[in-house]
């Protein structure tokens, strides 16, 4: 299979998180009773007309700018026709000939360095409702709450060469829309959807192979697995001298395979034409500049900054900048106490772990970045030991109080007075003569016993390094 090269392009749909729909006034909220977020325009009632939601355009321009696209000065809405119960008007308002954004790119991190994945176009359209086929019932039901929710369709050039690259591109797209606060990127809820176009050709060949569209990829895992499967399937066909059929296939997770969608032999004729109910969308330089000025630091920029400013490892930078909220949290903590490595460790191991345990999102983190930073400072200043810090951390998490107040309240200051520690060491050794003899006879594990006793006596507050140093001296 090595002499085959995979060529992959992704078509991603992202739901834009505006309050109302793209052409109608109903709410875009999800999870409500069916058909409660409707209005005449959403229902496609006779006589209703679409009116463009300006905020939707703001969001789309934001994405276009963030992905280095050219924003078209005048773009056009077009009607895309087909009959289906979840499509109230019998057509979807989309963009065809003149999309809002074109010729952009995103750069993914691959093993060979940064790779540019070009974006052919980004355009606006409305979502359809939801059809549900009921088992054991002779009918299906239609919920139009989702009909009219704003979507951007992001079409990439077929620049991806592996399932891993495809997953990386998807992840970066998701990260980007979340950073921009235009979409929550929930693949399992359907706010971010991915279709993949996969073809295979002999390495070095110029012509593209027959492409197959794969649908129903609603997680990164599925994207990667399905594409991998498809590449293998197509390579096997070609290696066997057979042809790849141009078709649409669905990923079947239970079977770990793609399967052909029945009844999709011909390409549909959508009879696109410009929607006469909507004026062409005019976006001037001033609008673009306004959006540009509101752009936050982008994921790639945050990563680079963390690398250069904080000197953290690539893995750590990736973890800390995965979410804008986390990056911001880190920045705030690092500005209070200058130990980026220490703070990074505490966040990525302790904090993330603790949040995960409670299934809590970072946005609800009970420990303020300032308090976390101060905790690390207390350790760095040797006011408390690392072990004590963990207990303090736990209390900070449940009570949202400052570490200093907890240290004072519970008297957790580390004991660093050598005389004090020596006195305790002498007492412990005096009280445990048998163990001392055992140690002198070669049972070096007794060190652990003695340390344990000392820690018990000091309530765990003795500085461990000092204890070890002084104990070793005493036993010598």
């Amino acid at each position: 299979m090595d002499n085959f090269e995979a060529v992959i392009g992704l078509e991603v749909h992202a739901q834009l998180a505006t309050d109302s729909k793209i052409f109608a006034t109903s709410s875009t909220q999800s999870g409500n009773l069916p058909n409660t977020q409707t209005d005449p325009v959403t229902l496609g009632l006779p006589g209703c007309l679409p009116v463009l939601n300006k905020r939707v355009v703001d969001f789309a321009i934001k994405l276009g700018v963030a992905t280095n696209c050219k924003i078209r000065h005048e773009s056009v809405f077009a009607r895309k026709h087909y009959f289906y119960p979840d499509l109230p008007k019998g057509y979807q308002i989309s963009q065809y000939d003149k999309p809002l954004c074109e010729d952009g790119y995103l750069e993914i991190r691959s093993d060979t360095g940064m790779k540019r994945i070009c974006i052919t176009r980004i355009h606006l359209e409305e979502d359809a409702g939801k059809n549900t086929h009921l088992d054991h019932e002779p009918y299906s039901v239609v919920d139009l709450n989702r009909a009219g929710v704003p979507l951007v369709e992001i079409v990439s050039e077929p620049d991806l060469r592996s399932a891993q690259e495809a997953a990386a591109y998807m992840k970066l797209l998701r990260q980007t829309v979340r950073y921009l606060d235009i979409c929550d990127g929930n693949m399992d809820e359907g706010s971010l959807r991915c279709d993949a176009n996969v073809s295979v050709r002999l390495r070095g060949a110029e012509k593209l192979g027959t492409k197959v569209e794969i649908k129903n990829l609603n997680s990164f895992k599925f994207v990667e697995r399905a594409i991998e499967y498809e590449i293998a399937r197509q390579s096997a066909l070609l290696a066997n001298g057979e042809a790849v059929v141009q078709e649409t296939r669905l990923w079947d997770e239970s079977k770990g395979a793609t399967r052909s969608m029945r009844g999709k032999e011909e390409a549909a004729d959508y009879r696109y034409f410009p929607d006469p109910d909507l004026l062409p969308l005019v976006v001037d330089e001033a609008w673009i500049e306004r959006i540009q000025s509101t752009l936050p630091e982008l994921p790639g920029q945050a990563f680079d900054r963390f690398r250069s400013n904080y000197g953290l490892s690539p893995d750590q930078c990736e973890l800390l900048t995965e979410e804008k909220l986390t990056a911001h949290y880190f920045d705030q903590a690092a500005s209070v106490h200058n130990n980026p490595q220490g703070i990074a460790n505490w966040i990525t191991s302790e904090l993330f772990g603790r949040l995960n345990r409670d299934g809590m999102a970072m946005s609800r983190c009970p420990i303020s970045p300032q308090n976390l930073a101060n905790l690390v400072k207390l350790i760095d200043d040797e006011v408390i030991s690392g072990k004590i810090a963990k207990a303090i951390f736990e209390e900070m998490f449940s009570s949202s109080t400052s570490p200093a107040s907890i240290v004072e309240k519970r008297g957790l200051r580390q004991i660093t007075d050598s005389n004090q520690i020596s006195t305790i060491i002498k007492r412990v050794l005096d009280e445990n003569p048998a163990q001392v003899i055992a140690f002198r006879e070669g049972k070096t594990k007794m060190m652990g016993f003695f340390v344990g006793q000392i820690m018990k006596e000091t309530g765990g507050k003795a500085n461990p390094q000092l204890v070890n140093e002084l104990l070793t001296k005493e036993l010598a």
Binding site: L45, G47, L49
Partner: protein, 493 residues
């Protein structure tokens, strides 16, 4: 028959304000008139008797309270073409596929009339989904022309035209996509105005051809037509194609201009509109009317609109294309009629639409689907839009260089007999050759009655103006009708 139904709307207002009669009297008189004439004319699909009387009662209260500060349409009965949605009142566009559909909202134009106190008498008959020129395409029977009940009133707003003509209401709303207000106005001797595209909101007007549709009024006097336009015109945020330009005070302009003649007005007479296709009696009457305009001080200018010949074909590509798209929503899923003859989704769609749509609607959906389909889009739809820009250019040039207003016939013939043109759709399409170019150009046009033919059937004069020049049309129409009176109440007996 009460003499109240012969009055114009502005006379009705005067009578209401002076206390000569009540709104209840007025509405009752009209409801009686409808009772007496609707069986024969079939102009109303639905008469909303109870709510009309209730509105009338409220109107009387308003007049008692506010006197001449009462809103303009207080107590004035109006009829609404069934193409416009009316909240809580069945709206079916004369089609079986929408039978039983009760809209949950009002068309903006209807809403504005109601806000101004209008009494809605009911919904008028029409060609199904506004596709037709004779009102013979209704699923609920044809409308008859009050002038000669063996003849058509024109279409598609035949019901509204017959209604105003016969005294069932002083004012009615219609829609005009290719002539559907002006042509029936011409055939019934009433006045019909199609405003500039975008002057009146299309929100609530069931869409036929979105880039061509406009709502407009029928009346028996120019003043009444202006009264209606005053209320319904103006920006609507629910219609992205509605124009934001301020609405002039049409009634004030008319009052100012009354009796002052039209000196200096250049009237363009396009030769292409007087070809052999036009009935010689129509031609003669229209020419005489144009001469009368000259008598009022107008300067006549011979002009040429060379792309006129292409207008019909252009319209019958663009109109059906947009219609095929707009009518996709009638699938039996969410509202209207759903066929019971199906064992699959595809059959549900096919049966519902085959059973629900009439012949002409199906014909236009098929044409429209064809011209938008892959392989044909460029040759037909795109080409038609390009020709459309040439038609727009023709008018632009004429108005900027040669004339201020254009005068033409409205219809090539007077009212034809029921059944005369139904076997040949193309022949029926020819009825709109004078009106269609105006829709393609998005310009305002008005039909005023200008004479009778030898059979005693009305002939209409069309005046076309530059965009947003409804005032100019109304002023000219008023001056013409003052000069050449026409018996608009001939059929109110």
């Amino acid at each position: 028959m009460s003499s109240l139904v012969k009055l114009s709307a502005s006379q009705m207002r005067a009578g209401l304000l002076s206390g000569e009669f009540t709104a209840k009297d007025l509405t009752s008189a009209h409801l009686d008139r409808i009772d007496a004439t609707n069986t024969e004319l079939n102009s109303f699909l639905l008469v909303t008797r109870e709510s009309a009387l209730e509105s009338a009662e409220n109107a009387d209260k308003t007049i008692k309270q506010l006197g001449n500060k009462s809103p303009l349409f207080t107590g004035i009965p109006v009829a609404i073409k069934d193409m416009l949605v009316t909240k809580g009142i069945e709206t079916k566009c004369a089609s079986k596929i929408l039978e039983g559909f009760i809209p949950p909202y009002d068309c903006t134009a209807v809403y504005r009339l109601k806000e101004h106190g209008a009494v809605i008498l009911g919904k008028t008959n029409m060609d199904e989904f506004a596709m037709g020129s004779s009102n013979e395409n209704s699923a609920y029977g044809p409308v008859r022309n009050p002038w000669d009940k063996s003849r058509v009133p024109g279409g598609s707003s035949g019901g509204s035209a017959a209604c105003v003509c016969s005294g069932q209401a002083p004012i009615a709303l219609g829609t005009d996509t290719g002539g559907s207000i002006r042509q029936p106005a011409s055939l019934t001797g009433t006045i019909g105005l199609k405003p500039t595209y975008g002057r009146v909101s299309r929100y609530g007007a069931v869409a036929y051809a979105s880039s061509l549709d406009q709502i407009g009024p029928f009346g028996r006097t120019v003043e009444d037509v202006a009264m209606a336009l005053q209320v319904i015109a103006g920006k609507d945020s629910r219609d992205s194609t509605s124009i934001g330009a301020p609405v002039p005070n049409y009634l004030e302009e008319l009052a100012c201009a009354k009796g002052k003649g039209l000196s200096g007005l250049r009237v363009g007479v396009p030769k292409e509109y007087f070809s052999q296709g036009i009935d010689p009696e129509v031609s003669k009457s229209v020419h005489a009317s144009i001469k009368a305009l000259e008598g009022l001080g107008c300067q006549l200018v011979d002009i040429s609109l060379p792309t006129t010949d292409y207008a019909l074909a252009t319209y019958y590509i663009i109109g059906p294309a947009e219609a095929s798209s707009n009518l996709s929503r009638y699938d039996g899923i969410r509202y209207g009629k759903r066929s019971k003859n199906h064992k699959s989704l595809a059959e549900l769609y096919a049966s519902t639409r085959s059973e629900g749509f009439g012949q002409e609607v199906k014909r236009r959906i098929l044409i429209g689907t064809y011209v938008l389909s892959q392989g044909y889009y460029d040759a037909y739809y795109r080409k038609a839009q390009q020709v459309r820009t040439l038609i727009i250019e023709d008018f632009k040039k004429a108005f900027s260089e040669q004339c201020d207003i254009i005068a033409t016939p409205v219809s090539p013939t007077t009212a034809f007999a029921l059944g005369e043109k139904t076997s040949n759709p193309l022949q029926m399409y020819m009825a709109d050759i004078c009106t269609i170019p105006v829709n393609l150009a998005g310009l305002p046009g008005i039909s005023v009655p200008c004479g009778l033919d030898s059979k005693g059937l009305p002939i209409g004069l069309q005046l076309v103006g530059p965009a947003l020049e409804e005032t100019r049309l109304l002023v000219t129409a008023q001056a013409f009708m003052d000069q050449c009176p026409f018996d608009v109440t001939a059929n109110i007996v």
